[in-house]
């Protein structure tokens, strides 16, 4: 089921300081929106707030998924409703292999744990997708992203290069099949080949799942591969201007200085 993400006049404080100052944005199924802005404009605050990071305090406004507010929901509940955040800085989790993590996450998303609990199934792996079934699925996805299978035995993001981390994020997206995906600076740390592979992966998933996409980026670079219908300029905690794809090209050519002059912020 396709879903619409609606951000309404969102105001957010971090450690007492207001960072988001009334953000309004709607992402409908199948749409691609690019949110572009200079460093320090609050782009990452927006992505973390959407996902429910406890550090970010929503003081006003709302986040709705298909008309239902997400504000009271924990990050895992938001994820299970179909929200996905590809992080700019994925943390490493030593001791937990990528495979174990993917299987646990995919199982949680698909309700295996719930089913096991409901049936009173106490067996060790009752809350997980059967190993053979999941192994086939993950192998298929990992080869699409041109990642080596040995990745699965490595600890999650531990010692991954920047590009490897971003690929692993998209691998997670492919397996968790979100309805709304937020890509937070996914292009940073990617060389041109990796950028192409990751973008193809995202585009393919969008077609397959009909998901809405919010691409947060500093540069136009990624937008040469993932084509947004809508480009928004994010500045000082707000969306100050929205237009079509030509806006991305203008930002690339002219930088952000004109934004301040033109929009008086």
């Amino acid at each position: 089921m396709a879903q619409t993400l609606e951000i309404r006049d969102l105001r957010v404080r971090v450690e007492g300081k207001e960072i988001l100052k009334g953000v309004t944005l709607t992402v409908r199924p199948g749409e691609t929106h690019a949110l572009m802005g200079p460093n320090g404009s609050g782009k990452s605050t927006l992505s973390y707030t959407l996902m429910g990071h406890p550090k970010y305090e929503v003081v006003d406004g709302d986040i709705l998924l298909n008309g239902e507010s997400l504000l009271e929901l924990s990050p895992d509940e938001r994820a299970r409703r179909g929200l996905f955040l590809a992080m700019q800085y994925p943390v490493s989790v030593p001791g937990v292999t990528l495979y174990t993590f993917l299987r646990t996450a995919a199982s949680a998303m698909r309700g295996y744990g719930e089913t096991a609990r409901r049936n009173g199934d106490q067996r060790l792996h009752a809350h997980l997708i059967p190993a053979r079934e999941f192994r086939q699925e993950v192998n298929a996805e990992i080869s699409k992203l041109k990642m080596d299978q040995t990745f699965l035995n490595r600890y999650l993001n531990e010692g991954f290069s920047g590009g490897e981390k971003k690929r692993a994020e998209i691998l997670q997206m492919a397996l968790l099949k979100p309805r709304i995906a937020i890509l937070d600076e996914t292009d940073s740390g990617l060389d041109i080949d990796a950028l192409r592979i990751v973008s193809e992966g995202v585009n393919h998933l969008q077609t397959e799942l009909g998901m809405g996409l919010l691409v947060i980026t500093h540069y136009q670079r990624l937008l040469n591969y993932i084509h947004p219908e809508h480009v928004h300029i994010f500045y000082n905690g707000r969306v100050v201007h929205s237009a079509g794809p030509e806006l991305g090209e203008k930002l690339e050519a002219q930088g952000y200085d004109w934004v301040q002059a033109e929009f008086g912020v």
């Binding site: 406890p54 990050p75 895992d76 943390v91 989790v93 030593p94 001791g95 937990v96 996450a105 998303m109």
Partner: protein, 466 residues
């Protein structure tokens, strides 16, 4: 050793491979018990003399005092030391299937091990070894019986360690004087087992003191993997004083996985000492999960150049449990290498103590010694970490470090953002924290079993039965 059947150790599956006698023996802890045990097991004169000497020491020595650094944080007053009894209850050897399920289920399947010895209440109830392995002279067997088959060898090594000595403390004196029930593992020069050997030490009778003694001798160039597990079931506070001696000769390769699953009311002291000759390698994995109060002395002595010892430990203490471990890495010779990693998880009101020491003797140049202790706190538990270095040589590379931390909120957020509920995310992180140690345990089935136990301990209730 006589002729060997396909799968037994020269003792028929229905015979008694353990005690020399079959009657039950119950003794007070006193001088008469020394003679009674020696009579009962029909021991050689040297062992009787060793027991007598140890008893004299036991009578002279005081129980350790909290003024001693190693005992400072342990409530020894709670140990049931007074009016101890010992009991030997031999049983005929059973089929493996006939063992209590709680001890049988943690054993690796027989096809995955080369030999096994199972003790119940100080007597062997099951023992078996592959013919191919036995042919090389390798044994894993009852120590009492081994006094008859390998007496001279045992005498040569008996309590020759730096801490596995009768006079180390009153607990070792007690074990030396009144030990009953023992594991003997011997791998002769150049011999090797492809699959691990396995030993189980179990108690389910009441009012009896556990005084198990393990002697492991691995000769020149030989290779051994041993898994030794401990289980018990008790209704009243019980006491164990255990000794483990490991001797690895030149170029020997030893992997020793030591698992502790004592029951909820067991108060234990163990003194375990590995002694490594030239170019000998040791990987020692210590898993402490059970017991009411546990005090372990774990020491590796690197006696000659090229010796290399890796010590890894995990403990998961819950509720009122106390797990207190003193580790020691002795570099006595140049070009020796030691590496220690102990990780503890604590929840509820549990307490752990890690007291670690790297000692580099004068002249032990070119030494590398590392020590790390990491503690993960869940709940109101307390972790004490006291790492130490004593270095008397100048060309060494040594480091030590200790951390006490809680679960990382950024990691939890990341896992939750992928749909994993917080409680499940916490469990993943706890299992991940202990994973580097679990990975060093031999056999996938043992690793899976430990993973499951850790999950259960994490998920288990804090106030009711474990």
């Amino acid at each position: 050793m006589g002729k060997l059947d396909q799968r037994n150790n020269g003792y028929g599956p229905n015979g008694n491979g353990g005690a020399a006698r079959e009657e039950m023996l119950t003794l007070e802890v006193n001088a008469a018990a020394v003679e009674a045990l020696s009579d009962y097991y029909d021991e050689p004169a040297w062992m009787r003399a060793a027991r007598r000497d140890a008893w004299a020491l036991y009578e002279r020595m005081d129980w350790p005092h909290t003024k001693e650094e190693a005992w400072r944080r342990l409530p020894l007053a709670r140990y049931p030391l007074a009016n101890r009894q010992i009991a030997v209850a031999p049983k005929p050897l059973h089929a493996l299937r006939a063992l209590p399920a709680c001890w049988l289920s943690p054993l690796a399947p027989q096809t995955q091990v080369s030999g096994i010895v199972v003790h119940q209440n100080g007597a062997v109830v099951y023992q078996d070894i592959e013919a191919q392995v036995a042919k090389q002279g390798i044994v894993v067997m009852d120590l009492h019986a081994a006094l008859r088959t390998h007496g001279d060898l045992i005498r040569q090594y008996w309590m020759q360690g730096s801490i596995t000595r009768p006079d180390f403390n009153k607990f070792t004196a007690l074990n030396a004087a009144l030990w009953h029930g023992g594991t003997f593992v011997y791998v002769p020069e150049g011999a090797r087992t492809l699959r691990p050997l396995q030993a189980m030490v179990g108690y389910d009778d009441q009012g009896s003191t556990g005084l198990h003694h393990t002697l492991i001798v691995v000769e020149k160039g030989a290779r051994l993997t041993l898994i030794q597990d401990r289980r018990s079931l008790e209704f009243l506070p019980e006491l164990s004083s255990e000794i483990v001696e490991i001797y690895a000769d030149e170029g020997a390769w030893v992997r020793y996985a030591s698992l502790q699953h004592w029951g909820e009311q067991r108060h234990s002291v163990s003194v375990q000492n590995a002694r490594l000759a030239r170019d000998a390698h040791l990987l020692w994995v210590n898993v402490a999960l059970g017991g009411q109060i546990t005090k372990d002395f774990l020491r590796t002595d690197l006696l000659a150049p090229g010796a290399r010892g890796v010590m890894q430990g995990l403990a998961f203490a819950t509720r009122e449990q106390i797990i207190d471990q003193s580790t020691y890495q002795l570099h006595q010779a140049p070009d020796t290498h030691s590496d220690l990693l102990f990780r503890n998880v604590l929840r509820d009101q549990a307490k752990t103590v890690f007291y670690g020491m790297i000692r580099v003797d004068p002249g032990a140049q070119g030494t590398q010694g590392y020590q790390a202790n990491n503690n993960l706190l869940l709940g109101k538990a307390r972790a004490h970490a006291i790492p130490g270095l004593e270095i008397a040589a100048n060309d060494v590379r040594c480091s030590h470090g200790a951390t006490v931390s809680r679960l990382d909120e950024e990691q939890l957020f990341y896992l939750q953002a992928r749909g994993i509920a917080r409680y499940d995310a916490e469990q993943l992180l706890v299992q991940g924290f202990l994973r580097p140690i679990i990975e060093r345990v031999p056999l996938a089935c043992m690793r899976d079993g430990l993973d499951e136990e850790i999950a259960q301990r994490f998920r288990g209730p804090s106030a009711s039965a474990q």
